[in-house]
Structures are given as structure tokens and as C-alpha cells.
């Protein structure tokens, strides 16, 4: 039985502090097939692959991983690579200023008495590049090539190590259509040669075009596996299994009181900060009304965060074009300071590295955006500062022993409330919150939703970027669906279902 499967995962459970990322997962990959792994953001796909490839070493999880009939004992990815299992990560791991062939053999060069035989490396690189269909001189510096070509180098690197199982973590998320097709063709080639491939993907059309089997994960559990040799599966079926959780009453009630349009973005285009020809946001237009909560949904890499940050004072990207209207007047935001002064607030999805200053205390973090208003002639009114910080600590119920506590010692939910306080204290009319509930527990989530509801009650407008569809549907008045840098459509509260959103993002 087990000869048939090259990889078998049984009863795998993996915990992170406070979260169960994988719960009793079973996952079986047959020898020589292309097996696709699909699921919503946060379903546990990447975690599963990280366990399999040894990123999380043996002992940090419960359950069994059997590769080529033997239980694995990987301490790092180096061990799994030696065993013939390679993973191509979403973020490329090449050394950008080295050439193709130097990257190909990095870490396992041909040496004699410790001296590298570069000539041999160079010679060996030609057949590898040919095999993955990369038409570049091996001496080309990696950073000068497109992302798609860099990915081919990674794949070449993996097969040079005699990989028998290749895992692709969302390989086409940063590729254009043509590059994606080439990559899928390459996977079909590998299948002919007997190399097994596992692909994590959000793009269902691609999944259905290459997959022999599909496994669906949801909330850290393996829901179902389809064997496409037995029967055909439709995109609808997959989506239904991906989202099919029941909605509990996790959200506060909200009575909408919606006014005229206060914030509008027209024909917004942004390019990648490093690759100036790569379009990240493609002609996006949207508007927000007074007292409205508007969500932006879509898979990872859809460009939601990038769009919001580029609007918020050009904090992301290169060569942004388009128009912004605030209360009917055309505005432009030079930098975040300008945006905040004109009444826009932004809460980053990455609260630790972009939202907070971890080595400072709660009070300082709350007041950092508003010091000018708490000061006279540049001298801070410290009493006023403390009173304001105290006031927000009370209203948002930040649980901290004192205002002097360093933020790094607070829990995720309370840290998030500190960031929210900072933005609220700056008194924005338009409040952009990016993944406001990521990594925090259910109780704190409810409190954060209530804070957002209170804001719109005061006549402000809230834009939420959310990867949790249930959250977006229950919280928002309208939902914009994005994918691949484009706004694919908009749904009203009463017409939005998880299936429709997924359908809009992935198929239409």
C-alpha cells in the first residue's frame, strides 16, 4: 500500500502559541502525480508544507510524516533536500547579487580540498537550465531577471539535487499568464519523468488544468481529497468545500446610517517598488460613503495591502497614478504625515514591524501620531498626553498593568488596540484597517469589531482589508473583491456570500 504513496501524512497536529494551525491532518501523495493543495488563507497549507519539508523540525509537531516509506526525522530543510524533497517558496530565496550558476550550486558546490571548481559548476549548469527551459546565460545576475525566471532557477536548483518530490508554494502568484502557463507545462514534464509535484494554489483554473488529485484544507483540518482519475470536480464544488463552515454569531450588531460619498479613488495604478515594469495595482477605482464599513477581499497577493499603502501617502510601490477625492475635493498625499493631517488613518497588517514601536511603552505608542496636537510650541503637555492615553486605554479596554508597560509585553489583541488607539487619537475621517483581527483571539476580535462599529456611528468611514470572508461579510456594508491587482467586482451586504466572493475573485 505505502509503496504507492511517496508521501503520507497521518494525524498531523501543529500548534503555535495560542493557535492550532493544523488539526489531525491526513494528506497522501501518490508517486509521480501532481497533487494540488487548496484552501482559504490561513487554512494551514503553508504550515503543512513547512512541516513536511523540515522547516518545523521533528518534535515540534505531533503525528507522522512518511516519505518514500520511511518516517522522516528532518531537523531542517537541508535534511529534506538531501532526502530528495525540495520546496519552492512563495518568497524566492536566491542570493540576488550572485549569478545563476553560483546560485544553482550554492551550498553544495563541487570542491577539491576546499577549492570550488567553478568551471565544472558552469558546465553542469547548462543542462539544468535547458531542462527547466530557461534561456539565459548562466553568468546572468539573478536580480536582473524577472521573478518568473528567478523561480525557474530555484526549480533548477531543486532538480540538480535529484529531488523526487517538488513542493510549489503558490508558484504562480507573482507570475503573469504566459509565465504561469510555462510553469504548469514544466510540471507536466516532471510528471512524465516521474518527479512528483505538490502545488499550493489559489488559482482554481490552474489547479483543475494540472491536478491528478486535490486535497482541501479548511481551518487546519483536511476536509476532503478528490482523485481526478475517478471523477471530474467543478470549481463550485471546490469552493464549497473551502469555505463550508457554519457562521456563528461572532459579530456585533450594526445599524447602518450611510451618507454621501466621502472618499473616492479613481484609476489607481501602482508598480512594483523594485521591478518598475511590473504592475501591482491595475486601474482600481472605488469609493466609500460616510458611515460605511467597506471591506476588500481576495486571496493573498491580490494587491489589497499594496493598494491601501500606496494610497496612504505613497508608502508602497513606484509610480502611483490616479486620483483621490476626499469629501469631493481632489487631494494628493505626499507622505503618511500628509495623509494623517488630511484625515486618513492607516493601521498596518504587520503590527509588529510597521505598526508599533515595540521598545516603547503603551502611552508613547498611543500618542506618537498626535504629539503636535498635544504640544505647544513643540513642548509636550505631559499631563494632557497621559490623560489622552488613559482615555483610550479605558475606551478600548487595553489590558495592561500600566501605561508605562512596554508594548512588546502585551498580547496580540491588546497590541492591536494600541495601534487602533494611536490612529483614533489622530482623529481620522477615513480609517483604513488592514487585517485588524489577524492573530488575535475570538474575544478580542469581537471588541475590535465593536470599535469599528462605534467609529461609523460617529459618522466616520472605515475601510477594512480582510482575509477572513466570514468577518468581511458580517461586518461590512459593501465588499470589493480583488485579485491580481484588479478590482473584480463589488457586492452589497445582502448579496455577499463566501461562495460568491470566491467565485468573483477566482473565476470571473
Amino acid at each position: 500500500m505505502s509503496e504507492q504513496y511517496i508521501l503520507e501524512v497521518n494525524n498531523l497536529t501543529k500548534d503555535f502559541p495560542g493557535v492550532r494551525a493544523l488539526d489531525n491532518v491526513d494528506f497522501k501523495v501518490r508517486n509521480g502525480e501532481i497533487h494540488c493543495l487548496v484552501g482559504e488563507n490561513g487554512a494551514g497549507k503553508s504550515t503543512l508544507m513547512n512541516v513536511v519539508s523540515g522547516v518545523y523540525p521533528k518534535g515540534s509537531y505531533e503525528g507522522h510524516v512518511v516519505f518514500k516509506g520511511k518516517e522522516t526525522h528532518y531537523r531542517s530543510t537541508k535534511d529534506s533536500e538531501l532526502d530528495g524533497l525540495a520546496i519552492i517558496h512563495q518568497e524566492l530565496t536566491l542570493s540576488p547579487y550572485l549569478s545563476i550558476y553560483e546560485n544553482l550550486f550554492l551550498g553544495h558546490m563541487e570542491t577539491k580540498f576546499g577549492i570550488i571548481n567553478w568551471d565544472k559548476c558552469l558546465k553542469d549548469s547548462y543542462p539544468l537550465l535547458k531542462r527547466v527551459g530557461l534561456n539565459e546565460r548562466p553568468q546572468t545576475i539573478v536580480s536582473k531577471m524577472s521573478v518568473g525566471k528567478q523561480q525557474l532557477v530555484e526549480i533548477a536548483r531543486a532538480i540538480s539535487q535529484k529531488a523526487e518530490l517538488l513542493i510549489f508554494d503558490e508558484p504562480t502568484s507573482s507570475l503573469n499568464d504566459e509565465e504561469s502557463q510555462k510553469l504548469l507545462d514544466l510540471m507536466r514534464e516532471f510528471r512524465k519523468e516521474g518527479i512528483t509535484c505538490v502545488m499550493i494554489s489559489h488559482k482554481l483554473d490552474e489547479v483543475l488544468s494540472v491536478a491528478d488529485s486535490i486535497t482541501i484544507l479548511r481551518d487546519g483540518q483536511s476536509i476532503v481529497s478528490f482523485d481526478l482519475r475517478d471523477r471530474k470536480v467543478t470549481e463550485q464544488e471546490i469552493i464549497k468545500e473551502m469555505v463550508g463552515r457554519e457562521l456563528k454569531n461572532l459579530f456585533p450588531q450594526k445599524e447602518p446610517d450611510i451618507g454621501e460619498v466621502v472618499f473616492e479613488v479613481k484609476d489607481w495604478n501602482v508598480y512594483h517598488p523594485d521591478y518598475h515594469t511590473m504592475k501591482i495595482i491595475d486601474n482600481a477605482s472605488f469609493h466609500v460613503k460616510k458611515g460605511e464599513i467597506v471591506s476588500f477581499c481576495g486571496p493573498m497577493g491580490a494587491g489589497r495591502t499594496e493598494m491601501m499603502m500606496s494610497i496612504f501617502g505613497k508608502s508602497y510601490g513606484y509610480g502611483a497614478t490616479g486620483e483621490i477625492f476626499l469629501k469631493g475635493r481632489k487631494v494628493s498625499f505626499k507622505n503618511p504625515k500628509d495623509a494623517i493631517e488630511k484625515g486618513v488613518g492607516y493601521v498596518s497588517e504587520d503590527r509588529k514591524s510597521l505598526g508599533l514601536i515595540l521598545i516603547q511603552d503603551v502611552k508613547t505608542n498611543i500618542t506618537n501620531s498626535s504629539l503636535r496636537r498635544l504640544a505647544r510650541h513643540g513642548i509636550i503637555d505631559k499631563d494632557l498626553e497621559v490623560r489622552k492615553a488613559e482615555q483610550y486605554k479605558e475606551t478600548l479596554q487595553i489590558k495592561t498593568p500600566s501605561l508605562q508597560q512596554l508594548v512588546r509585553n502585551l498580547s496580540g489583541g491588546n497590541q492591536q488596540k494600541v495601534v487602533l488607539s494611536r490612529c483614533l487619537l489622530a482623529d481620522p475621517d477615513i480609517f483604513i484597517v488592514d487585517e485588524p483581527t489577524r492573530g488575535i483571539d475570538v474575544g478580542a476580535k469581537f471588541e475590535i469589531y465593536s470599535i469599528l462599529n462605534d467609529m461609523v456611528k460617529e459618522g466616520k468611514s472605515v475601510i477594512v482589508v480582510s482575509s477572513e470572508l466570514a468577518e468581511a461579510i458580517s461586518m461590512s456594508d459593501r465588499i470589493y473583491v480583488m485579485n491580481e491587482g484588479k478590482i473584480k467586482g463589488v457586492l452589497n451586504r445582502d448579496e455577499a456570500t463566501q461562495e460568491r466572493i470566491m467565485h468573483m475573485a477566482l473565476i470571473d
Partner: protein, 397 residues
């Protein structure tokens, strides 16, 4: 606001343990002074010597005040020694044209500020690492100093300049029990201010409903600080009075303690140093804050150059050699973090005094510069090791 006074229940030792990190550098300074008192038979604590420690280190201490701001923002400035030489030479040349002392002082500060602007421009707006810009500045301003001085010392036209460094504040004939009366008077004023500030702070905390320490701890604090002030000022009083340069140093320190604690600019410096990306998204103009910080460093170099020229009573082409290293070491001994965001003015001054006390003590023992380097190196390494170790232990780093 007031809803009763919250008193934190803690024992003396518990409190000392909690504040060990903050107190450690003061304890280190005290220990060093005591060790050398034994080794030199008390010579290092004589009025004349205490006065000398301040005068001989004044220009480094002044530099350390600027350097700690640069370090808090996450940068470094290697050019300060050369800028000190350059601005010192120019101030000497200006003074020799017959210009008065005050205009010379102001012009030196302006020149320092302009140099600061030049370097700050490359660092803040052209995004060249401060290490590289100021390394270039170190070479550039040393070269320019050689050019304008023709590699020979510039003597000053009269002794007026010298008063800044080695002059003292005293009133002839006003003495109490053989001690200078003005110094004692100022000492009393300083102690009264100390008491007033401490009580004020306590009152503010109570008003805001913060927990405060039991009142006796404030008394201990006042007593300890007063004893320190009395020790230093009676030394000054028993020698020639308060050195002018100590007044300069005090004013600079007080100004920047205020700036770092109470102004928007000061808080922006800590915010940018703590996490530049997050500071930017909080609406802080990080480039501008970086720019201003390096300009301040330039102005301070101008002042230090003037003080050093006054101290040597001439402008030397080699002036300021390795000052940057002493200033940087002072900051790190004083608890600043190399990664930015952490550091205090008082810490940097204390760190500078630690270095100064070691130099001075070893010189009194007739130990040469060779061993002074070895000892200073060990102190720097150990102090920073202790800082990092204790931070890790208390979960801060």
C-alpha cells in the same frame, strides 16, 4: 482626576533591584572613583583634581550629548573629531581678526551647523549610510583643517578665549570659611531646585492617578543627589570656583535633557530610532528628524571645537583626534543601544565621566596611554556586555 493616592508597595532592595540597569553606570562611576582614591592616596578626589576632570573632559562630554542623539536615531557620527578641529581652527582665525568673543562663539556654532547640514543632507535625503557619510566627513574636514591652518598651530591673539575653558565663576572676596561663596550659593540653589522638581513630579503623578513610590524613597533620592551635588560643588569652591566650562556643559545638558524628555522633536528622535518604518506610518517625517539630529550634532561639534581651542589656547591641526571614539564609547557605556531607540543624555554624560575618571586616575598613577587604552577597552566591552545581558534577563531585548 485625583482619586486617592496609589502607593506602590516595594522594599528598598526590591526597588534597587528593579532599577539596577539604570543605576549600574552611576555605581560604576562611584566604584572607579573609590578604587582610584585608594590607589592614588586620595589625590583624585582633591578639589583641584575634580575640577580638572571636568575641564579636561568637557569637550568630550559636550560631544557625547550630541552623539547620543545620533545613536538613539540609529546612526553614528565618525566625523566629530575632524569637525571639532575644523570649526576650532576657524573660530581661532575669526577671533584673531579682532572679533569679539560672543560673535566668535555664534559663528562657530553656525559653521558647525552648516557642516551638520551638509552631512545630514547626504544621510537623511540621499539615504547614504551615516557611517559612510561621516567617514568621508572625517577625512574631508581633517584635510580642510590642514589646508586652512597650513598644518601649523594658530595661536590666539590674547587670553580672552582661554577663559571659556579654564576660567572660573567666582566673586573676589566673597568667601565662606575659605570656600568660594558664589559656588556655595549656586550649590544651595541647585539643591532647592532638585527638591522642588522631585516634589513637582510626585504631585503630577498623584494628580494623574499614577501609583507613586512611598515618600521616603523620594527623600532618599533627594539626599543622595544633594550629597553628590554638595561633594562636587564644595570641591569647586575649595579650588577656584565653578569652572566656566562646567556652566557651559550644564546648560547644554539641561537643554538636551529637556528636549529629549519634553519636546515633540525629542520624542520623534526616539520614535524614528525605535522603528523608522512604523514612525513614518505614524505620520512622522523621519527624514526631517534624521536631518535635524545630524545638524544638532554639527552645532555641538562647533561648540566643542571652540571649547577645545580655548582649552589648548590655540587651534591645532591635529585637534580632536579620536574624539569621535571617546564620544561614542561614552554613549554606549551610558546605556545607549547600538540598534537605536534607547539612550539618555544623562547616561552619555555619566559614561563620559567614567572614561574621564579612568584616564585621570591612571595618569595620576603615572600609567601611560598604552595601558589606559587597554583598561578603557575592557570597561567599554564589559559595560555593554552587562547592558545587553541584563536587558535580556529582564525581557527587554
Amino acid at each position: 482626576m485625583s482619586n486617592g493616592v496609589h502607593i506602590e508597595q516595594i522594599s528598598f532592595f526590591g526597588l534597587a533591584k528593579q532599577n539596577m540597569r539604570k543605576l549600574s553606570m552611576f555605581i560604576m562611576l562611584g566604584l572607579i572613583l573609590i578604587v582610584f582614591a585608594f590607589l592614588t592616596g586620595g589625590v583624585n578626589l582633591t578639589p583641584r583634581n575634580i575640577t580638572n576632570i571636568f575641564i579636561q573632559n568637557s569637550y568630550i562630554l559636550i560631544l557625547a550629548v550630541g552623539m547620543v542623539l545620533v545613536i538613539i536615531i540609529g546612526n553614528i557620527d565618525l566625523s566629530v573629531g575632524s569637525v571639532v578641529a575644523f570649526s576650532g581652527a576657524i573660530s581661532a582665525m575669526l577671533y584673531n581678526t579682532g572679533m569679539g568673543l560672543v560673535p566668535t562663539l555664534l559663528l562657530s556654532l553656525v559653521i558647525g551647523g552648516l557642516i551638520g547640514c551638509f552631512q545630514a543632507f547626504w544621510i537623511a535625503y540621499m539615504r547614504i549610510p551615516a557611517f559612510i557619510v561621516t567617514l568621508a566627513g572625517m577625512l574631508l574636514f581633517r584635510g580642510l583643517t590642514y589646508i586652512i591652518t597650513n598644518v601649523s598651530p594658530i595661536s590666539l591673539r590674547d587670553d580672552g578665549f582661554k577663559q571659556i575653558a579654564s576660567g572660573s565663576l567666582n566673586i573676589k572676596g566673597f568667601s565662606i570659611g575659605g570656600l568660594d561663596g558664589l559656588s556655595l550659593l549656586i550649590m544651595v540653589v541647585v539643591i532647592l531646585l532638585l527638591v522642588w522638581f522631585t516634589l513637582q513630579q510626585r504631585r503630577r503623578k498623584i494628580r494623574n492617578g499614577f501609583t507613586v513610590l512611598a515618600f521616603r524613597f523620594d527623600v532618599y533620592k533627594i539626599v543622595a543627589l544633594s550629597a553628590l551635588v554638595m561633594f562636587v560643588f564644595t570641591r569647586f569652591a575649595a579650588y577656584r570656583g565653578i569652572p566656566t566650562v562646567v556652566l557651559v556643559l550644564f546648560l547644554v545638558t539641561a537643554l538636551f535633557v529637556f528636549i529629549t524628555n519634553n519636546t515633540v522633536l525629542g520624542r520623534y528622535i526616539y520614535a524614528v530610532g525605535g522603528n523608522a518604518k512604523s514612525a513614518k506610518l505614524s505620520g512622522i517625517n523621519a527624514e526631517q528628524v534624521t536631518f535635524i539630529t545630524h545638524v544638532i550634532m554639527g552645532v555641538i561639534c562647533g561648540l566643542s571645537g571652540l571649547v577645545f581651542t580655548a582649552y589648548m589656547n590655540s587651534a591645532l591641526p591635529q585637534a580632536g583626534d579620536k574624539f569621535e571614539l571617546d564620544a561614542i564609547a561614552s554613549c554606549f557605556i551610558g546605556g545607549a543601544a547600538a540598534s537605536g531607540g534607547i539612550g539618555t543624555i544623562i547616561g552619555a554624560i555619566t559614561g563620559g565621566l567614567v572614561m574621564g575618571a579612568i584616564n585621570n586616575g591612571m595618569s595620576l598613577m603615572n600609567i601611560g596611554a598604552d595601558w589606559q587604552y587597554v583598561v578603557k577597552a575592557s570597561i567599554l566591552l564589559l559595560a555593554v556586555f552587562y547592558d545587553i545581558w541584563s536587558r535580556k534577563k529582564s525581557g527587554l531585548g
